[in-house]
Every structure is written in structure tokens, then in C-alpha cells.
């Protein structure tokens, strides 16, 4: 009898806790990272990428954009390293073309997006990020279906698309 009484009490108390904290469970979790990432093509990747960076929890939308540009930089580096590795074992026109595309991403798109987010001109961040996604796609297409860079190109493209979508939110 006592057991059942306490168990019931326990459940009842839990029930009350659930009722009162429910509003905060549904609303507090709706933080800026998540609401920003909802408006991008890849919610999960967006959240995961942003949360991996310290400072993302307290960043504004523009700050989140800047973090995504860093993520783009890291994906570009991954691709460049892979390209170099592949070129050592057998250069090809497609690889050379990819190298120049990723160079453009690193030398053009990323600095442009970085400055555009910092200097409050998000439309140019959108341009740079969209272009980076395109460059990755063109690199991939250059292999006629037998790409050794699919993982890197997809990563670049996905991350760039998220960055562009964040820029659009600032327009």
C-alpha cells in the first residue's frame, strides 16, 4: 500500500513538473541557432556545424553567418588536401580544374563572404556562398560520374548553401 501510494505521488509530482516546465521546454530550446537553421536547406547540418564552434550560442545571426564561413573554409581545406593527395598519384584535367575552383573559393568567395557578413552587406555574402556551392558542383560534374571528391564536394556545397541561406535572412 505504501509503495503504491508513493509511486502514485511520484508520478503525480512528475506530471506537475512536466506541466509547468512544458512551456519552457518547447520555447527555450527554440534558440537562435535553431530558428536560424530552420530557414536553411539542411537544418541538422546547420545546427551541428554551428554548435561545434565555441561562441555560437551567444552569436547573433550575422555572427552565425561568420561561423559558417569558417566552416566553409574548413571544408575547402579538406577538399584542397584531398585534391593534392589525388594529384600525387595521378593528375588529371578534372583534378586541375577542381584545384582552380577551390582556389577561387578560398581566394575569392570566402574572403568576400567574410567581409560581407562583417561589414553588414549580406547580399555579397550570399553571392560568395552561392558561388562556392556552384564551384563545388562544377568540380564534381567534371568527373563524369566517377568522382573521387564526392564527399568533399557535397560537404562544401551543403555548407555553402546553408551560409547563403543565413545571408538571405539578413537582407
Amino acid at each position: 500500500m505504501a509503495n503504491l501510494k508513493t509511486t502514485t505521488t511520484l508520478f503525480f509530482v512528475l506530471f506537475l513538473i512536466a506541466m509547468t516546465s512544458l512551456p519552457s521546454i518547447t520555447l527555450c530550446d527554440e534558440n537562435l541557432i535553431e530558428s536560424t537553421c530552420r530557414k536553411t536547406p539542411n537544418f541538422n547540418l546547420c545546427v551541428q556545424s554551428l554548435k561545434a564552434f565555441p561562441g555560437s550560442a551567444s552569436a547573433d545571426v550575422r555572427g552565425l553567418g561568420l561561423i559558417m564561413v569558417k566552416v566553409m573554409q574548413s571544408k575547402a581545406n579538406d577538399a584542397i588536401n584531398k585534391i593534392r593527395e589525388l594529384q600525387r598519384s595521378g593528375p588529371s584535367p578534372a583534378l586541375t580544374s577542381c584545384a582552380s575552383k577551390y582556389n577561387a573559393i578560398v581566394v575569392g568567395d570566402i574572403p568576400e563572404a567574410n567581409e560581407a557578413f562583417s561589414k553588414g552587406m549580406p547580399k555579397f555574402a550570399e553571392n560568395g556562398a552561392n558561388d562556392a556551392a556552384n564551384e563545388a558542383t562544377f568540380c564534381e560534374n567534371g568527373f563524369n560520374g566517377r568522382s573521387p571528391l564526392t564527399q568533399q564536394n557535397n560537404a562544401m556545397r551543403d555548407v555553402a548553401a546553408i551560409t547563403a541561406a543565413i545571408a538571405r535572412q539578413l537582407l
Binding site: 501510494k5 509511486t7 521546454i25 530557414k39 561589414k119
Partner: protein, 644 residues
């Protein structure tokens, strides 16, 4: 329940249960389990709800429709040259690796459009005429072929065509512009002074308006500029966001003895224009109402506001007003990267403006240019009493190509702007007459017959630097009474209909594997069609089809166009300036204008050709053309070392 009243401190529920225990054990047990079960279900369902809410509900359609003009994802289906059927094929799935050669990239550079020697340019700034020189300033990146590090580039010309580069005029060296020396406009004061107002982005990341003026107004080249020490002169007012406050216009002088100017902003996705008044260009008062606001148009950039004469024959000083004057309000929409204008009435008593036709309001009606065109700005040229319009033409290729070739962006050939008194609804834009000084040899063709489904080569020699003026007559074939009812540009020039498309093929090669059609397409051709008594309205569309302009997969290739008003007594006419990778096309004297970028891989240098074409099914075309070769403008650095 005897005795319960005695148990003051106990929780009644538990007490009751305790009391019930002996008498109704089975029921109580079931009730308790029900409670546990119910709570568990409740908690589990709440947990499920929370997890579900984390699910992505990204609205793709809504975002895609916002239309980024730089988006290379070409959704227009392309067809076979013979025009049989269009096949839908997103260019992203093309699998040929593409390599730009130096020859292809070098060819893209223009011969007579303003562009810096290298690197990135965007908005035209502060255009003016002073002591015999036209001045152009522009947003410029001195270091790279992409946007960034923005300063004010500067160039001068005697004739708006032959430009000479000067050193940068404004750099980002003060706290009030350290993060950006952005767009602005010049106001010429009656005493000859020049004031320049421009947007600065401060070290605290706020958009502000700054005052600058020439260090030496007697210097015809206006080489050096001084920034007012107590900048900024305008800061975002309460309620306006720190990133929604930019691009001040030229000021105009009013009967209140004050100068008035306007700049774009937005509130809750409504684009609007704020009004400021000043007597000294240092102290400003904000009006309590906007010049105008249009819901749903987003941020208004590069607002332009100026009078036009309804008589339509001369340009007007920005301060002009009175009967016989209408005012044009123009905005560049940040959301869609498009320039819109509307003609209306300025109520100077309270500095508000309303459009003649609310359905053609700013941001929802007419566009200055239906192609690749943005951030336009006009100025009053007191030298020749005309209003002259500049517009920024961005690249449509990839940034890797821009970085490789070392430059990006052009300005249009400056255009005069007049009110079209024949239609009363449009502005007329036309290349400044000084471009004719570039004309070399010419070829003339009279009433060339072009039958349905045919292409006629025009033997004019080189075909990459041209000024083309053409008129088209329509000859109806077969019986009357064809009701066509097609509107717009279709999917491009491959889409045949009874009365179009027909026009010219520019930057085309002999094999027609690369070509850029510039064409008209009529919805109907009224010849007194009499089967019904309802009027068959003819609408004419004017279009440029980039979809086959290049075999390269990494350039944007769209079909641009719009309806163009054609009056009963008018022939169809067009003017086209071809200058390597830019084509500017004007229909009906400039009622509809389309700027287009093309990046061919084969139709370059000596392989580029010009053709007439008629892809309509039920009409012959008779075309009369005059075509000039155009010389280079030899745009180069100012020859400081030469003796004047």
C-alpha cells in the same frame, strides 16, 4: 469517512485513499494504475512533441522564389537550334569538364564600356559634370575581383565615352567609414560648390551618412576630397535599423529655401524612402512622413528621385518643379536585385509622392532594365541639359573565372532619360549621342525578306563591337483570323508561335552552336481580324535569350524580357550595342531595355557573326538595318606625365 475532519494536516486525497483502502481495494488499485498510465502517456507524448518540433520545416519554395540573380541554377529549358522542341536539362547535370582558355577570357573584356583596369566594381557613385569634365565614381575593390575592401574609384571623361582613370577619391580611413565607403550622390550648389553625401559603415557597424567635398573646387579633375571633420551628418533615426539606412540622393532646392534629399530604408519588409531637409548640408531634419512606402518590397537601395518634363524633350535639373513636370521615383530592391521605377506626382508641400498608377508602383511595376542591371543612378548634366543614367552590370559567370581573368563588372553606356509622352507610362532610355563618335564603317540593308524558320547572315565583317539600328515590318501569310494568344518571351527563341519570335542573332557563330537571339514576339497580329467582335489586343514582348549564348556550363543563361508598348503607327524597332561580353538592347526608342552578359567559347573574335532570324510560323519579316563597327574607347589612366 469518519474521522477525516480530525486529520487537519493530512492531504485529503491521500487521506481519502487511506480511508477507502479497506473497503474498495480492487477499484483503488485500478484507479492508481490509471493515474500512472495517464501521466506516462502524457509525458511520452510531450517528449514526442518536443522532438518533432526540432524537425526541419525549411520552406524551399519560399526561399527559391526570392530569386537571387546571381544564382546560376538555370531552370529554363533549352531547345534544339531548329526550334522543334525544348528539352529540359538543368545545366548542373552536364558532365563535360569545362576549361576557359586565356583567349576566351581575354575576349570578354569590353572595348567601350567603362570598367577599371582590373578587379571588382559595383555601384556607380556621385556622377557629375564640372569644369569641362564628366566625373564617375564607383564602388571599387583595389585588391581582388570579388566584392570587398570597398573604396571610391574615380574616372573622368570629356564626353561620357572616353574615360581616364584617376586615383581613388574616397578611402576608408575614418571611424565613420572604416568598414565601408559606400554609395552616395553629389549635389551641385548654385555658387559652384560640390557636396558629396555618401554612406559610411562605422567601426560600430552602423550605417551613417557622411559629407565630403573637393579639397580644391578649382581643380577640374577633383582629385582630392576632404571629409567633414564632424561626420556623420545623418545617423539612423529611432525605429530604423542600423543596417537599413543608405545611399543618399542628390538634394533639390525647394520653395521653403531648404535642400531636401531622400534615402532608402525599410520597416517590416516595406520598402520606403526617408526625407531629410538641410540648409547647410551639416545639420539635417528628418521629415515625419516618408516620401513613399510600398509594402512587401523589402529594403530600398540606391533610391533615385528626379523630375521629368512631360513635354519629353529635355532633361531637368533635380530642383525643377511646376506644371508640366512629373517626378520619377526609383529603387533598387535588395531582395530581388532588380531596379524598379514609377512615374508620379511630387507634393512639395509635404514632400510626399504618389505614382500615376498604383498598380505600377515602385517595386511592383516597370523596371529600368529587364536584364542584368542594378544600383542605377542618374544625374543632371547641366552641360547638355539632359538627365543621364548610369547602371551597374555585374558578371554572370563564376567567380573562378572572374579571379582568373582578374576583373568583374561593367557600367552601362550612359543613357539619356526622358518621359515618353506618347505612352505616358514609360521612360525612354537611349545611349548618349557621344557614342556615335566611336562609329567607323557602316553597312546598310533595306527590306531584307526573312521567311518563317529561316536565318539570314549579315555580312558586316567583325561582329563583336557593333551599333545596330533595325526596323521590322510584318507581312501576314495565309488567312486572317489566327488567334495566337501567346504572351511573353516563351522559353526562348526556339519556341515558335504564329507571330514570333523574330529579330537578330548576335555573338553567333557560323554553325549557330552559340548565339544570342534578341527578338520580338507578338501575341496577336490584328489585321482587322473579324471572326469575333471582341478586340484582339496585340501585346508585343521584347526579349533576349541567353540560353544558347555559350556552351560553357558555368555561366548563367537566362531569358530576359518584358512587354513593350507599341503604338499603332509605329514600326517595330530596336537598337543594339554589342561590345564583347555585354549586349545592351533597346526597343521602341528605349521604352524597354535589356542588358545582357554573354560568355561564348566559340563565337569569339573573328568567328563571331550577326544574323537575322525569323522563327515565327505565320509571318514574313522585312528588316531594314544600319550597322556600324564601333571603335574602342581606349579607356586608360589619365596621362599625368603628358604636358597639358
Amino acid at each position: 469517512m469518519e474521522g477525516i475532519e480530525d486529520d487537519v494536516g493530512h492531504v485529503p486525497l491521500l487521506e481519502a485513499e487511506e480511508e477507502e483502502e479497506e473497503g474498495r481495494r480492487p477499484l483503488r488499485l485500478r484507479g492508481s494504475y490509471l493515474g500512472i498510465f495517464g501521466s506516462t502517456v502524457f509525458l511520452v507524448s510531450m517528449a514526442a512533441l518536443i522532438i518533432y518540433q526540432g524537425h526541419d520545416y525549411y520552406d524551399e519554395a519560399k526561399i527559391e522564389n526570392k530569386g537571387n540573380n546571381n544564382n546560376n541554377y538555370n531552370k529554363v529549358p533549352r531547345g534544339v537550334a531548329e526550334g522543334v522542341s525544348a528539352k529540359s536539362n538543368s545545366f548542373l547535370s552536364e558532365t563535360t569538364p569545362y576549361n576557359w582558355t586565356n583567349a576566351m577570357l581575354s575576349w570578354q573584356r569590353t572595348a567601350f564600356h567603362f570598367q577599371p583596369e582590373r578587379n571588382w566594381m559595383n555601384d556607380p557613385n556621385g556622377p557629375l559634370f564640372h569644369k569641362g569634365w564628366y566625373h564617375l565614381f564607383y564602388q571599387y575593390n583595389p585588391f581582388s575581383a570579388v566584392w570587398g575592401n570597398i573604396t571610391w574609384g574615380h574616372a573622368v571623361s570629356r564626353d561620357l565615352i572616353h574615360w581616364l582613370y584617376l586615383p581613388e577619391a574616397i578611402v576608408r580611413d575614418m571611424w565613420f567609414d572604416i568598414n565601408g565607403a559606400w554609395s552616395g550622390s553629389a549635389t551641385l550648389l548654385p555658387g559652384g560648390e560640390i557636396v558629396m553625401l555618401y554612406t559610411g559603415y562605422t567601426h560600430q557597424q552602423v550605417q551613417v551618412q557622411n559629407l565630403a567635398y573637393p579639397a580644391d573646387a578649382s581643380d577640374p579633375l577633383l582629385l582630392n576630397w576632404v571629409k567633414y571633420a564632424k561626420n556623420p551628418v545623418m545617423v539612423p533615426p529611432p525605429g530604423i535599423g542600423p543596417n537599413d539606412f543608405r545611399d543618399p540622393t542628390t538634394a533639390w532646392f525647394g520653395p521653403d529655401n531648404k535642400w531636401t534629399l531622400t534615402l532608402g530604408s525599410m520597416l517590416n519588409d516595406s520598402g520606403l524612402s526617408l526625407v531629410y531637409k538641410t540648409t547647410d548640408f551639416i545639420n539635417y531634419e528628418l521629415n515625419d512622413h516618408f516620401l513613399h512606402v510600398v509594402p512587401g518590397t523589402g529594403m530600398w537601395e540606391c533610391v533615385d528621385f528626379y523630375p521629368v518634363s512631360i513635354n519629353g524633350s529635355v532633361g531637368l535639373d533635380t530642383s525643377a518643379n511646376g506644371p508640366g513636370v512629373k517626378h520619377v521615383l526609383k529603387a533598387s530592391l535588395d531582395d530581388t536585385k532588380l531596379d524598379y521605377y514609377a512615374i508620379g506626382t511630387y507634393f512639395i508641400e509635404n514632400d510626399t509622392w504618389i505614382p500615376d498608377d498604383p498598380d505600377l508602383d515602385v517595386g511592383i511595376g516597370l523596371r529600368l532594365d529587364y536584364g542584368k542591371y542594378y544600383a542605377s543612378k542618374s544625374f543632371y548634366d547641366q552641360n547638355k541639359q539632359r538627365r543621364v543614367l548610369w547602371g551597374w552590370i555585374n558578371e554572370s559567370d563564376s567567380e573562378v573565372a572572374d579571379i582568373t581573368k582578374g576583373w568583374a563588372s561593367l557600367q552601362t553606356i550612359p543613357r539619356t532619360v526622358l518621359y515618353d509622352k506618347k505612352t505616358g507610362t514609360n521612360l525612354l532610355q537611349w545611349p548618349v549621342e557621344e557614342i556615335e563618335s566611336l562609329r567607323l564603317s557602316s553597312h546598310e540593308f533595306k527590306e531584307l525578306l526573312v521567311k518563317p524558320g529561316t536565318v539570314v547572315p549579315l555580312h558586316i565583317g567583325p561582329a563583336t563591337q557593333l551599333d545596330i539600328i533595325a526596323e521590322f515590318e510584318i507581312e501576314l501569310l495565309g488567312s486572317e483570323g489566327i488567334v495566337n494568344n501567346v504572351e511573353g518571351c516563351g522559353v526562348g527563341a526556339v519556341e515558335r508561335s504564329a507571330f514570333g519570335p523574330f529579330g537578330i542573332l548576335a555573338i553567333a557563330n557560323d554553325q549557330l552552336s552559340e548565339l544570342t537571339p534578341i527578338y520580338f514576339r507578338l501575341s496577336n497580329y490584328g489585321n482587322g481580324t473579324s471572326t469575333t467582335t471582341t478586340t484582339t489586343t496585340t501585346s508585343t514582348s521584347f526579349c533576349v535569350d541567353e540560353t544558347r549564348s555559350s556552351k560553357a556550363p558555368d555561366v548563367s543563361k537566362q531569358v530576359f524580357g518584358s512587354k513593350v508598348p507599341v503604338l499603332n503607327d509605329e514600326k517595330l524597332s530596336l537598337r543594339v550595342l554589342v561590345d564583347h561580353s555585354i549586349i545592351e538592347s533597346f526597343a521602341q526608342g528605349g521604352r524597354t531595355v535589356i542588358s545582357s552578359r554573354v560568355y561564348p567559347t566559340e563565337a569569339i573574335y573573328g568567328a563571331a557573326r550577326l544574323f537575322l532570324f525569323n522563327n515565327a510560323t505565320d509571318i514574313n519579316i522585312k528588316a531594314s538595318l544600319k550597322i556600324w563597327q564601333l571603335n574602342s574607347a581606349f579607356i586608360r589612366p589619365f596621362p599625368f606625365h603628358d604636358t597639358q
